[in-house]
């Protein structure tokens, strides 16, 4: 198990190198000149040039990449072009709110999604199923910025229950996590349903009934554990997307997280910040995948990493 983990983590390094390279190139290819943006609209050519030099952007691209890589390997993410603050601090300030938001979203999405999925599967093709799936699918059928804006109108402006944005106090997490989790909830509900329906058709379910088990133990004792295996995969993948996908929702709720930081930085072509953030997303994406594999092996006795 530990060996497996170590091996997996070691195998990440080349992938991360590739990601770092791709990100670096990608961000530098995008038109836009941080030196110009930094110098301001009234700046002269010389001023822009000076800014460029001080940022080290005048050097050839490969050289810049190696400088960046060297810093990266020694744990130095560099300084923001826009504000001059260390990138690690910028990200450090934002990572907790975003993680909290993400966890909360995935948590409620899992609970509600699995419940809806079970109800739909048990009452397959009857009205609770249709209702459940309609609810679930609604979750992925609305632009989440729209959901966010409507939520603000309803719960902040009209009802005054939740604050409109920010990240202080649990109350400010409720609406963004709802907007963010709705889509995942839908995915999970659908998967739980189809996976459970699938499990319920298996021979061992019939065998269980032949043993005299009731529907309760059949669904919860036998079918569910099997059906949760693919659900875990989906939930994990979604979690992987979440961090990167919260951009829009964070914007709507003025949520001080990684998403808004990313948007700000990319607009300003704040290369070090963007690079670090995408790299961070990649790392967490890969780690989440690893986590999925581990959880998977716990759920599925056939897979063992001895």
């Amino acid at each position: 198990m530990w060996q497996y983990l170590v091996k997996r983590i070691i195998s990440l390094i080349p992938l991360l190198l590739v990601v770092s390279f791709v990100v670096f190139m990608f961000i530098h290819i995008i038109p836009g000149d941080p030196a110009r943006l930094l110098a301001g609209k009234e700046a002269t050519v010389e001023e822009v040039e000076m800014a460029r030099q001080s940022l080290g952007l005048d050097k050839p691209l490969y050289e810049q990449y190696f400088v960046y890589l060297k810093g990266l390997l020694s744990g130095d993410l560099g300084y923001s072009i826009k504000s001059g603050a260390p990138v690690s601090k910028l990200i450090g300030d934002r990572i907790l709110p975003t993680l909290g938001l993400t966890f909360l979203s995935i948590l409620w999405a899992l609970i509600v999604g699995i419940l809806l999925g079970i109800i739909s599967a048990v009452f397959r093709n009857r009205w609770p199923d249709h209702l459940g799936m309609f609810t679930a699918v609604s979750g992925i059928s609305l632009p989440n910025f729209w959901v966010g804006l409507v939520l603000i109108q309803l719960f902040s402006v009209q009802l005054g229950i939740f604050p409109t944005g920010g990240a202080d106090g649990w109350k400010s997490y409720i609406m963004p996590s709802f907007a963010l989790g709705a889509g995942i909830m839908a995915m999970i509900a659908r998967f739980t349903r189809s996976s459970l329906v699938d499990s319920m058709k298996q021979d061992y379910i019939r065998m269980g009934r032949a043993k005299g088990l009731g529907s309760g133990s059949i669904v919860f004792g036998h079918a569910l554990k099997n059906s949760l295996i693919p659900v875990v995969t989906v939930a994990g993948l979604q979690f992987g997307f979440l961090l990167g996908g919260s951009v829009v929702v964070e914007t709507v709720f003025s949520f001080p997280g990684l998403g808004t930081l990313l948007i700000d930085s990319i607009q300003f072509r704040d290369y070090p910040v963007v690079q670090a953030e995408i790299l961070l997303f990649a790392v967490q994406f890969i780690l989440v995948n690893l986590l999925i594999d581990i959880v998977y092996s716990f759920l599925n006795p056939k897979i063992r990493y001895e």
């Binding site: 992925i140 059928s141 632009p143 910025f145 729209w146 990649a282």
Partner: protein, 297 residues
């Protein structure tokens, strides 16, 4: 695939003309109410997409400064927007843009993704590793950042929105088709084809691809919904369709400032997007149950 699963039920009776495959399909499809309703809704949308310009009550682009922000009434069923344009007319006219953008983006993504997935799954080995790692990299990039980048590089405009949205549907198609390919590859008829000396190309295109098609169709349907939302999100960030065009996403995002004052401006485009995406998803769900009950991911 479906025909293989019904093994125990296959009993010979060939003299009687059985209903054709399509008819059978159609009949069992018609028992899935949500999917059927969605299907007709989508069909309606496509009809509107074609005849839209001839049935709009008003000119969708014509401003009327005497009737700004009117609430829904008998003259303007969905009200008017901040230029006095009839919202219903704009929604009808916008069907063309919104649908064609999403359908063509997903098509593009599906074609490339399918090719990659087929090759990756069938050839295996380092080709597979390469393609899959590539997909990982794409996955690790947040979709919207990718889109921002692409739109920034290629410039704004519908064509590039299509490319951007297509771009992030590539890896998921590649994965899903690869999964299906791996499954089909192990099937006996593939070996049978090999045993008669069929080449890789032939096996891939004539034997494996048709089997993965149901999966692709299902995934395609669902992804159209996702693409509509993605395009809308791009609009939200100001990178979508030309803002003056009646693209639904653009309408929604441009008018979002009116959410507190003229809710109908936000409500109707939101509603149509919701219904459309919902319809594509429910349709996909229905198709999935029939075509590909085991679809993963």
């Amino acid at each position: 695939m479906s025909s293989l699963q019904s093994k125990s039920m296959e009993v010979e009776q060939i003299k009687i003309k059985e209903p054709g495959r399509f008819q059978q399909f159609w009949r069992s499809f018609h028992r899935k109410k949500p999917a059927v309703i969605s299907f007709y809704f989508v069909l309606l949308l496509f009809v509107i997409m074609i005849i839209g310009p001839f049935i709009t009550p008003y000119d969708a682009a014509e401003p009327d400064y005497n009737s700004l922000l009117e609430t829904p009434s008998l003259t303007h069923f969905f009200g008017t927007d901040e230029y006095g344009r009839d919202i219903l007319s704009r929604i009808i006219a916008g069907a063309k843009i919104s649908l064609s953008v999403s359908v063509s983006a997903v098509s593009l993504g599906a074609i490339i993704g399918t090719m990659l997935g087929l090759i990756s799954g069938f050839i295996g080995k380092w080709v597979d590793k390469l393609i899959m790692r590539g997909c990982d990299v794409l996955f690790a990039f947040p979709d919207l950042i990718l889109a921002i980048g692409i739109v920034a590089i290629l410039g704004p405009g519908l064509k590039n929105v299509v490319i951007a949205v297509a771009f992030f549907s590539i890896p998921s198609f590649a994965r899903i088709v690869r999964g299906a390919t791996l499954e089909v590859k192990e099937m006996l008829f593939v070996e049978a084809a090999e045993s008669i000396g069929a080449g890789r190309m032939r096996i891939m295109l004539k034997h494996i691809f048709p089997e993965t098609l149901p999966t692709i169709i299902v995934y395609f349907t669902m992804n159209v919904g996702t693409a509509i939302l993605a395009a809308a999100s791009l609009s939200f960030l100001g990178l979508g369709a030309e803002p003056s065009s009646p693209d639904w996403g653009a309408m929604l995002s441009v008018s979002r400032d009116y959410i507190g004052t003229a809710f109908h401006l936000v409500f109707f485009p939101g509603l149509i997007i919701f219904l459309t995406v919902l319809a594509f998803n429910l349709l996909g769900d229905g198709l999935r149950e029939m075509l590909d009950p085991k679809m993963k991911d």
